[in-house]
Each structure stands twice: as C-alpha cells, then as structure tokens.
C-alpha cells in the first residue's frame, strides 16, 4: 500500500506492508512521523484520512480522546492501511537528531529469562542483526498470539549489539505481562519494532543528569547510566538518581548501581526510596555506597532538584501518574525549562 502525506513543503510517500501499522511503515522508511508512546495512549501520532480505507486497529484507544470521527482522525500507531491512502498529519514532521536510527521490524528470540524480584522479570531478546539505539530508547513488543504492541525500554547499552535487555513488571490485566509471567519463555519468539523514543542520552550534550524512576521505569535510566559509564562520562559530570520501589524485597539492580557508584563515588549519587517499608539495618549502615530512604520517590526527589536546573537534564520514568505528578512541580516550583525534561509515559 502506498501512503502519501502531503505537507506544504513536500509530499512524503512510503510503502506500508499488509497488516503493518502506518506509523511503523513511515518510521521504517525514514519519515520522522510524530509519535510518543507508539502504543495508542498518548494521541501524538494523530492523522486524518483524506482518501483510502484503513483498519483502525483499536477504535477505543485512549489516545483518541478529543479526536473527530467526522474528520476521519486516527492514530497512526494503531491503524493499518487497506488501500493506498492519502493522509494529513497536523503535527510538524521533523527529524530529532541526525544520528537517529531508523526503526525496523525484527523477529526476536528470548535468550535469557530470570526473575529479579517476586514481580519483576528480566529477559533478553536476540534480534537477527547487530545495530544500536540511543540509551533511553524503547522497542514495542508483540507476543505471537497477542494483539497489539507494548512498549519497553532497553536496560542495556552498547555501540553495537544484537541483544535487547528488558525488564517487565507483573501487571494484572496487562496481556504481554501476563504472557511473560505465565511460564518460562526462554527460546520463544516475539515481534519487535524499534528503536523508538526521545527520552534519550547523548554524551555530546554535556549535561549533568537528574533521574527519577518508579519501579520498572528504571530500565531506560539504567541504559543511560551504562552508556555514560562506558564513555567515562561521570569523570566530569554528575548524576543523581532517585529510584522508588515498595520494599527492600522489591529492589533490583543494586549491584549494577553499586558498580557505577564505586568507580566515581564523588559524582554518582544513587538514592533508593522505599514507599512501604523502611530500609534494612544493613542498608542503613551505609556500607554499600547507596543511600536508602523511606517515602514516595517524588517527595524525596523534588527537594533535591536545583532551582532553574543549571546545566542538568532531568529524566522521568515510571507509571504515567508518577510522571504527571512530577512535571507540574518541576516546571512550577523548580522552574526547570521544558526542554530540560525528558520522559516516557507508558500506560
């Protein structure tokens, strides 16, 4: 199917395969279509259908709030072209960075699968070709017998790799989550599409980093820490991470944090915030280099934000309500400029 998107300055044309989401087809062809969550919840990839037939995919997608049926408005991340189509995309079509990597479809195979806590598991997906992604990016994953993609940020980082490392939280009602936890999925295959996402880290920007993560949202921030550490970034830049989980039993990645902290103790500050139980006495002894606190992660993190932000880039990652609860005080109280806040909101 030929998809045409007319803008005043030029007309974009790309081919969509049968059954392929229009957003995927465009991004794959190098057209920097607007999107954010890529999974139907945010509404950023809105388009109007001028000509042609589409299958809407998920007509009740939450991202369609305020959309006008009469104007044939739809989400490019959900719909599939059934004929050649002519679309209008109201948001600007513009590239983010020159070094962005065109996303693509891959058949991935699960090559590692382990429980990190009682309700968080870690798995690795091997894809057929070596490539890279920006630290902080995500892929959308679809299990074979399930309808619809879910977004997961990579945990790992490498300049060139065929392995994507993810964590996934047990989430009642989450289909992919249920599928992943149901049984050991080692050696099973998944459809994956990516890399996607702009809550990314780029060493050439030279920012200090302030990170707030809730639960499995820490994935993308772990990738940023790994990339930064690989290029010895913390030699002369600071990072302050606040990572919220419920109890000491829910904590994961402590070893990985510690490894980075040990290399640059003065510039790396890792704060683990437990919402439901106090830290253990061993944690409080302070021997492992990490700080352990009690409370809600946003309440503990916000007082540490530098007013005006200085040279700092702020990364927010976690459940959408947590991210929403942070954006307002960051802008209002801490006076952080909007372009110094990067976040992903996956519902």
């Amino acid at each position: 199917m030929l998809i045409e998107i007319e803008k005043k300055s030029k007309t974009y044309r790309f081919e969509a395969n049968a059954g392929e989401k229009i957003l995927h087809a465009g991004l794959r062809a190098g057209v920097p279509l607007p999107f954010e969550c890529a999974t139907g919840t945010c509404g950023s990839c809105k388009a109007r259908v001028n000509q042609g037939d589409i299958d809407e995919g998920w007509p009740e997608a939450p991202g369609k709030e305020n959309f006008k049926a009469a104007k044939r408005e739809m989400l490019m991340c959900q719909c599939v072209a059934q004929t050649d189509c002519n679309l209008t995309v109201p948001s600007k079509i513009k590239a983010f960075r020159e070094d962005d990597i065109n996303p693509d479809h891959h058949q991935g195979k699960i090559t590692d699968y382990e429980m990190l806590t009682s309700d968080v598991l870690r798995f690795e997906v091997k894809v057929p070709i070596e490539g890279t992604f920006h630290a902080g990016q995500f892929f959308v994953l679809q299990a074979p017998e399930l309808e619809g993609y879910r977004a997961y940020s990579m945990v790992n980082y490498s300049q060139s790799t065929d392995t994507l490392e993810f964590i996934i939280k047990k989430f009642p009602g989450g289909e992919l989550s249920n599928w992943a936890f149901e049984s050991n999925r080692l050696n099973e295959t998944l459809d994956v599409f990516g890399p996607l996402g702009r809550a990314t880290f780029h060493p050439d920007e030279g920012h200090d980093l302030f990170m707030i993560a809730g639960g499995s949202g820490v994935a993308g921030l772990m990738s940023i820490l790994e990339h930064a550490n690989q290029v010895n970034y913390f030699q002369d830049h600071k990072v302050e991470l606040y990572f919220g989980v419920r109890t000491p039993n829910d904590l994961f990645f402590a070893e990985r944090f510690r490894a980075i902290k040990t290399q640059h103790p003065d510039n790396v500050s890792i704060n683990i915030v437990f919402s439901n139980e106090p830290p253990t006495s061993e944690q409080l002894s302070g021997n492992d280099g990490l700080n352990y606190l009690t409370g809600f992660v946003h309440e503990r993190a916000l007082p540490a934000v530098l007013e005006g932000g200085g040279n700092t880039m702020h990364y927010l990652a976690g459940p959408a309500p947590m991210v929403d609860a942070l954006i307002r005080p960051l802008i209002l109280d801490s006076k952080i400029p909007a372009d110094r806040i990067r976040y992903d909101k996956f519902n």
Partner: protein, 115 residues
C-alpha cells in the same frame, strides 16, 4: 461583533485558567498581573483543553501534555512550542473582563509549515 462581558475581574486569578463561554464561543481567560488575556480553549498542538492541561507561572503557560510553552502576555511560543496562542482583545469595564469577539479564533491544525 462586539465587546462582551466574560466574568467579574475577581474571578480570574493569577496563575489560574478560567474557562468561559460567550455566545457559544469557548474561551479561556488568564490574569497576567497588569491585565487579562483571552485565548481559544485548546492547545494549538493537539487540541488538549488547556483548562486541565495548562500550568501557569510567571506569565508562562505550559501544556503538561508535551510541554509546549507560551509567553502569556504575547502568546508567543517558548521552548519546544511551535505555534503561538491566538489572543482575543480584552479590557476591564465596571469590574468585568470584557472580550472582543468578532469571530471565533481557531487554530489551523493543518498548518504544516515544516522546517
């Protein structure tokens, strides 16, 4: 095509967004300290209702959806925002905020002047 009373001036507090409907035209009103501004009710990016998504501080409005920002006095875009806010003329008269509504101002969501 005339000046219309929107609401008492005391109803439009600084750093708050007040929604009004005048002769069927929805607007939002803000207090910029030395006067008032009236805009269409939605964000020019993705039509989010700013009464819910707008954050006002220091005469800068931010839509919390994708962090577009504007100078509330001029409507000019700041930071990542790509389009200005449209502004209706306003004045104060007899304790009321008056808004000049000639025709409903609407954003052109097909205005796609790319880089």
């Amino acid at each position: 095509m005339s000046w219309k009373a929107a609401c008492p001036t005391g109803d439009v507090k600084q750093d708050k967004i007040k929604e009004c409907t005048i002769d069927g035209v929805e607007i939002i009103l803000v207090n910029v300290g030395d006067g008032f501004r009236a805009y269409p009710p939605v964000c020019p990016h993705m039509e989010q209702y700013l009464e819910g998504s707008g954050i006002c501080a220091n005469n800068v409005m931010t839509c919390d959806r994708h962090l577009w920002q504007w100078d509330m006095k001029t409507g000019e875009p700041l930071g990542p925002a790509e389009k200005p806010l449209l502004i209706y003329d306003t004045k104060e008269e007899d304790g009321q905020v008056m808004v000049f509504i000639d025709e409903e101002l609407e954003y052109d969501f097909d205005d796609d002047d790319d880089d």
